[in-house]
Assembly symmetry: C2
């Protein structure tokens, strides 16, 4: 069989499947690059959001477009590795205020410059970005406010 048609022709795959596959394949190089810094990609997103100062976990989750359960585990890992600290908010003891440590700040600075390098070159990256932003906005309205 010479693969001239049928389910092996990726250009016939539905767009959603192409999107998931592309995202996963790009993540491979990304995950490997971050491992050298002792970081994961989910952790880096949280460290980036903490650029703006301490946040509650619910806040971080909403901004990262993940559930609070997911952010809880991401922060747990970052704390274990010494990149963030958690303090119970005295004014509202339900809230866990997450603060970036010096080590966390350094890790973010290191990962930041890597983030642009890993993505493969594309001629019209602008159009792809616009398409991705449109997808994110149109799909996240009901789930995350903001």
């Amino acid at each position: 069989m010479t693969d001239i048609s049928g389910p092996d022709r990726m250009d016939k795959w539905p767009t959603g499947r192409l999107l998931s596959t592309a995202a996963r394949l790009v993540e491979h190089a990304w995950i490997e690059a971050l491992a050298h810094l002792g970081l994961t990609h989910a952790g880096l997103v949280a460290l980036h959001l903490l650029d703006a100062g301490p946040h509650s976990q619910t806040d971080l989750a909403r901004r990262a477009r993940v559930e609070t359960q997911t952010m809880s585990r991401t922060i747990e890992r970052l704390e274990r590795e010494g990149f963030v600290e958690r303090q119970t908010d005295a004014a509202d003891r339900r809230r866990q205020v997450v603060t970036r440590t010096a080590s966390g700040r350094a890790a973010w600075e290191a990962g930041k410059s890597l983030e642009a390098e890993v993505f493969p070159d594309l001629r019209d990256q602008g159009t792809l970005r616009d398409a991705l932003l449109e997808i994110i906005h149109s799909t996240s309205e009901s789930r995350w406010s903001g």
Copy 2:
């Protein structure tokens, strides 16, 4: 704070992060739609590939762009749900030949029509698809041959 700059401005996020986020958000609707059919998205990909007839698990993995370990677990689930069957290849007893059952064929036919419906409308979907195909090709050469 009014979110006019900083890490909350998604349009400043690196492209790789946008790609992962968009893929995940689009998957939400997709996963929910498939759940009504008793299917998962990984399972549907395998059922699609079996359109071309029985395959070994290594073959399916290569075509789906996942590791053989991943395909092993996907097939295990599909078998448990009655969508595929596995027989040891008599000619090479290392190989597990995966065959789609009648139920698996019906599930694929049902999921097939759904696959096009879920993806959000985009003006220039052609350009997005081209960009995704280019990403997949440029990232999968070293990892998967074919």
